[in-house]
Subunit: 543 residues, 2 copies
Amino acid sequence: MAWWKVSAARRDVNPDLASERERPSFNVETLTNILDVGVEETRIRRAVVSLVIKDPIFSREYMYFKTPSERYEGAIRNTLHMQRKIKEMGWDENGREVKYIYRALNGETDVVHNVFIKTINALGTDEQIAKWMPLAMDYKILGTYAQTELGHGTYLRGLETTATFDPTTQEFIIDTPQIAAIKWWPGGCNTHTVVVAQLYSNGQKYGIHPFIVQIRSLKDHSPLPGISVGDIGPTMGFEMLDNGYLIMRNIRIPKENMLSRYSQVLPDGSYVKSGSDKINYFSMTAVRVSILRDEVLEALMKACTISVRYSAVRRQSELKPGEQEPKILDYQSQQHKLLPLVATCYAFDFTSKYVNKFNEDVFSEINRENFTSLPELHALTAGIKALATEICSNGVEVCRKACGGHGYSLYSGLPSLYTKVTASCTYEGENTVLHLQGARFLVKCFAAAQSEPLLPTSTAYLSSPSAGECQAMTSADFLNPEVYLKAYECRAYRLIASAANKMQKLVQSGAEQYLAWNSTSVELVKAAIVRVYSYYTRSRLSD
Amino acid sequence: MAWWKVSAARRDVNPDLASERERPSFNVETLTNILDVGVEETRIRRAVVSLVIKDPIFSREYMYFKTPSERYEGAIRNTLHMQRKIKEMGWDENGREVKYIYRALNGETDVVHNVFIKTINALGTDEQIAKWMPLAMDYKILGTYAQTELGHGTYLRGLETTATFDPTTQEFIIDTPQIAAIKWWPGGCNTHTVVVAQLYSNGQKYGIHPFIVQIRSLKDHSPLPGISVGDIGPTMGFEMLDNGYLIMRNIRIPKENMLSRYSQVLPDGSYVKSGSDKINYFSMTAVRVSILRDEVLEALMKACTISVRYSAVRRQSELKPGEQEPKILDYQSQQHKLLPLVATCYAFDFTSKYVNKFNEDVFSEINRENFTSLPELHALTAGIKALATEICSNGVEVCRKACGGHGYSLYSGLPSLYTKVTASCTYEGENTVLHLQGARFLVKCFAAAQSEPLLPTSTAYLSSPSAGECQAMTSADFLNPEVYLKAYECRAYRLIASAANKMQKLVQSGAEQYLAWNSTSVELVKAAIVRVYSYYTRSRLSD
């Protein structure tokens, strides 16, 4: 039979792939269980994945031929069907099956309503939660989260939308004062939104606070008077999400719509804090920890899997004259591209678990009103988010290019992994800004190290006099992770000391502090990055 | 009047941009003329650009909302309209106006038919050109170029499509012998194609040769018997191009359809070379030179322009407490991202002109049957193509990320610049393969340097005994490009010497030559890259 008549339905494993899978030097199932954190977790994950794959409503067929509108509709359909499944299976909303079904749906869901729900749960009072949650959980209202503006992103203090308290009517007036203040990026077709706005009361400015604003009619979803909404156009990835803009012209909302777990405005307009708003920082660190675990590491793992498998079945060129073309995986240059990235997946998996544990520990402390570790956690998660998103995005792209022309085809799955994961370098804090936040913490610790002997654990080396000495004596020592840790710490110490000295000299020679900081920021970012590497190494040692 | 009622048609230059443009330290028009290579060139370029912008048929409106099919149709429409314009204006097909109109249309044209035309002109005999050119130029036939197969790309010798001469009918039988041999990537809706196939005659294999094959009916464009064609699906970029596959089952074509400028099959099936097929290498080097000039450098220039302008109008965060938010261009970290890339644009512009000149010189020599410089040109253009596509692609992505969230919007123009330019890392030779070609040349020169004092100019340093000495004595010396050139040459020398020694040791200890090469390829690629940097520096010194 001619080759073109052979059925395409044949599903034998490619012999080149099968040969690579023979005789592994480790037990594959054991390693899988380690990554999943337990045999039972592996079982449950596989059951959920299998359920998704078998369900025709979750089918991804023709995905690469769909318009953004069709992808968006598909994401809504997936979300509703997933909710039905969760109820049908009796899964806990916060349980592991739900985590796995989200993962299996690969982002083809509408997550925006979830952000709305989480925000009310985190920042609302008990009464506010009791009022809004039932409506949101039953989809009687649909929510989004409107924070970023056309003119301001990472620098939250610069947001310009205003919420002015009017004591005569006990309302807030929400307003978009100029073009750059238009809310930009919030997604979904919503009836309500959390708006982050600058609070004004009795002529005083109190900084940014969250408010619930109804933007559309519950009858026909038309925008309410004074509201203008629309689409901000297509983006590089995230086709399943529609990003919008929101203009609010002197919209009045009842006083009760300010989310008031941590601060509120009294009827006379006076402003009262309740509890520490440091807890706000904590929700930011939790999101950054989850970006590594749930978004960028997964993208790199998938890209590595695709490109390593491809390299095992693609035969190309000639190594030994006259012999069969080798698998491209057998070329040293291909291994040099892919294998360090496979190793990075494991390293980040351990880091993710380690930092998650640290995050939980700090949360317990916070609940006992102990905020000591919060600055360290904040700086660390900023750095980890920044470096992990950068390394994973770049890594996905290396995997893609390592598949040559086929890596350029959407069918390989690699282009869409990249065009999506690269957004993480910007959202939840632009990476350079985050590294500079990490550097600010390091500079503080470095200054403190001159007087206080007790620094946060992860920066203890800044006060150690042996910081400058590398411990490798033989080439075999370089297989010891302790040596790497010391080397990274030594490098971080030198870089931060050098940056701090440069700043000091600039200030001594008459430069203002802020100019000295700006003139040193390239060095500061470098130091902050090395410090994160040292943390990665530490997380591996802890296992 | 409220801000939202201000007309969007206001086109004042943003004052922050205007202030940056005040008092430049150089004459902008003079520099423009230098880049264009002459006042007259600037004038003509602007005239062509203005013609394109004013013409509604060339409009790019709604481009980011079009489906791939609509983009493809638009590219066809642009191409036909452009041809009309060229005739109407009386422009020379090979003249500069045509170069500028292609550039102004920004790739939204159908270039595939052009490749068909160029191939026949380059590889056809005078009779073949006389037969096919009038048909192609008048669009009576539409052509494409089918070389890459599902299973083979950069490694051309591995192509599997066969062209077997049948002396009884004086025909070639073109055949796709298995799945991996399906032609993959050729684009356009065509009636004819150049097929690159392995030539067999009288039971002998003669390597790859080009053949003209008709694939569709000239009446209704339906595929001819034995031909299967279709779309290979969407890709990461190049939405305006439709990439296809082509299966040929024992298709018979007349003997005259083998493009025979450099080799032919006689009626008895004997194979005759006419002229040197080294000239084939030359057309490859010409394409690689043009990739730098016409594709990747332009993408980086555009990305730099967009991101630097954005950085001048975007104000964000706080440098000096209490003062207006600074332009992000005033942050050292932003300058550190963008300004080296602006410098890279100038460096590559000079390199491009320099290597273009070298290419022309070698072409003149070849026409005098002197092929001495061809290996050097081949290695150099391979390296320049590989490094320039990598640097420009990565640079575009740095520019995009430097614009934060707005760089993720397609409206910024940056995502589509990246998703297109990154393909250049793969097409016309995968970059790692090209660097290894460059390394092979370097290793040869290094070996020759031990015996022959005369090496090609660009590798003369390999035989110089002072190669290991760096000439910088003071920090001011680092402003001298001669110092960089020596430093790069010194580094290339050391790396190639080290790689050659490693290979020699491996062979001496019993490894086969090909394994020694493979085990050294990471070092070899490194050496090849540094060698290209030294060439970039040399090209700047030559101006």
